[in-house]
């Protein structure tokens, strides 16, 4: 069996790398560019909300990002209502000439937990307006199903709240979503802190990872980007290779020498 080409498809576009990476919080634009290149990511998320998009205030940084020649996924980070999210999505469609949008509607200001109800409503409106929506949601199966029902072809449940770096807080929920929506591209978005968290998500059968803080705020962002690139590859290969099941007790693969068979249990 060959592992190549191991591509995946998001709204009809094919990718070979399974990391989506954010463009905020780096020590400098130079470090951002270096880290993104090191990560191998083909998709970069960009945020508009606070940058006075109506006067293209963030143009300098966006130019820097566009020079990387990656696929851009604008987001609606910082929006608290359906209306704000839809307006910002329309602005970023014009600005970046893409109908892709990472939908994020904040429900709680302290931990930035998404508002599941507003997210479904905004996703429905955006889909009607022709957007290809990547919704950031909690790890709730029913919310995921509703998002699928309103037209999302990709789902992005969280591992844990944004910026916490706590990894997969509820692997059971994530696994349930995977099993119940076997053909839907699934991306773990938010909460990834360490490369081992990414390995776990890929081993669960998730198709990709979206992260930002874990790389941008590492002591050495470029080195951490490489670590995630390798972790995602390892997790994916582990999933494809088919892991052995866990067992309750150790089962030695050869008899213990020097012990009579009637003592071996």
């Amino acid at each position: 069996m060959t592992l190549n080409p191991d591509t995946w498809t998001l709204y009809g576009a094919s990718f070979s790398n399974r990391l989506l990476i954010g463009s905020a919080l780096y020590p400098s634009p130079q470090v951002m560019s270096d880290a993104i290149e090191a990560s191998g990511a083909e998709i970069i998320t960009v945020s508009l909300r606070r940058q006075s998009p109506e006067e293209a205030g963030g143009q300098s940084l966006w130019t820097h990002i566009q020079k990387l020649e990656k696929t851009l996924l604008p987001n609606t980070a910082g929006c608290h209502s359906v209306k704000e999210a839809v307006t910002l999505a329309q602005m970023s469609r014009e600005m970046f000439e893409t109908d892709w949008i990472k939908l994020e509607v904040v429900g709680d200001d302290y931990n930035l937990q998404p508002d599941p109800i507003a997210t479904v409503e905004a996703a429905e409106q955006l889909t009607t307006l022709g957007f290809k929506v990547f919704p950031y949601c909690t790890d709730d199966l029913v919310i995921c199903q509703r998002l699928r029902d309103v037209g999302c072809e990709v789902l992005m449940p969280w591992g844990s709240p944004i910026g916490t770096g706590r990894g997969l807080m509820n692997p059971y929920n994530l696994q349930t979503i995977r099993e119940r929506l076997p053909d839907m591209p699934l991306i773990v978005d938010a909460g990834i802190g360490k490369p081992s968290h990414a390995v776990m998500a890929l081993e669960l059968g998730y198709d990709g990872i979206l992260l930002n803080t874990a790389v941008a705020q590492a002591n050495d962002p470029v080195l951490m980007a490489q670590a995630f690139r390798d972790a995602i590859r390892a997790g994916r290969q582990g999933y494809l290779a088919g892991a052995m099941p866990e067992r309750q007790t150790a089962s030695p693969s050869t008899p213990t020498l020097g012990m009579p068979f009637w003592h071996q249990q």
Partner: protein, 362 residues
Amino acid sequence: MKIGIAGAGLIGRLMAWQLQRAGHKVTLFDAGDELGTNSAAYVAAAMLAPYSEAVTSGAEMFALGKPALGQWRELLQQLAQSSSHVVALNDSGSVVVAHDLDRASLQHFAQKLKAVAGNDPEVKQLDRAGISGLEPELPASFRQGLWLVGEGCLDNRALLVALQHALVTGGAEWRANVAVQSVSAGTLNTAAGAEKFDWAIDCRGFGAKTDWPDVRGVRGEILWVRAPEVRLSRPVRLMHPRYHLYITPKPGDIYVVGATEIESESQAPVTVRSQLELLSALYSVHSGFAEAQIVHSFARCRPALPDNLPQVQVSDGLLRLNGLYRHGYLLAPTVLASAIKALAGDYSGAFVQEQESVSRKT
């Protein structure tokens, strides 16, 4: 020599003053007034914070920023001699705290600081007693913190005035409210036409973007509050998962509260959200700020280059200084020394980049 300087922010004034002291004939142009109200230097908190800045900017910045306090002490002494203005320098360190819920942010700050500074003796862990020993008015709910002993801040508005007086009394020509549109070798171009000099020096910061496309603005929003009920004696930083607040004491019961950091070149007034974030964080540090007066709110663009470090570009008859970003006061003495050396043909200073057209003076 006859030297024309575009931009009378911090670095433009310092260059002009040093070159005048060295006997050159200096003309200084600025799009704004003599006080420098247009400049990032005017609204800045003017902290000398090599440790705090090292956390985001890394080892090189730390090494070059650490001598800043000592360098400023010397510069201010020289300035006192040449202008009779005494500019206050607060060298009592800074305190970093976090609310219990945000402890992880403080730990992350400490971890990154250690990665750059190692076990530096000027980084001291604080418990509740330690915090109240330094700043008795901080609430007892702050149970952990850091005292960054080697940090300080200076009275930047007094500094800008002192430099202006020193320059004008020393015979410099000051062209206020004259915008320089472009700078090239030996030439400053204004609406009135080109003016020729032996050296043209571009210190326009964000304003130099048209001549130096790599320069970008990073929007910062900052508030000045007057709080007679509050007594903080040194800069206090509050760690939070999403924004870092600092409160820097200035003369006259004024505290500079900042600052947002937004990758935007908008200079529109401070937004409601930014003001809410800054003020709610401020109030959480000291309830005495409830009745403080908000005397100013400013939004300015910090001039930055792609690596967020300064650069001194030198070619024949032309010197460009830019990219001081968040580190204007911290790195100004180093950048100043590098630029003065570069003018004399020595390109070995920190941040100096020779341009191709330079014919080496040997």
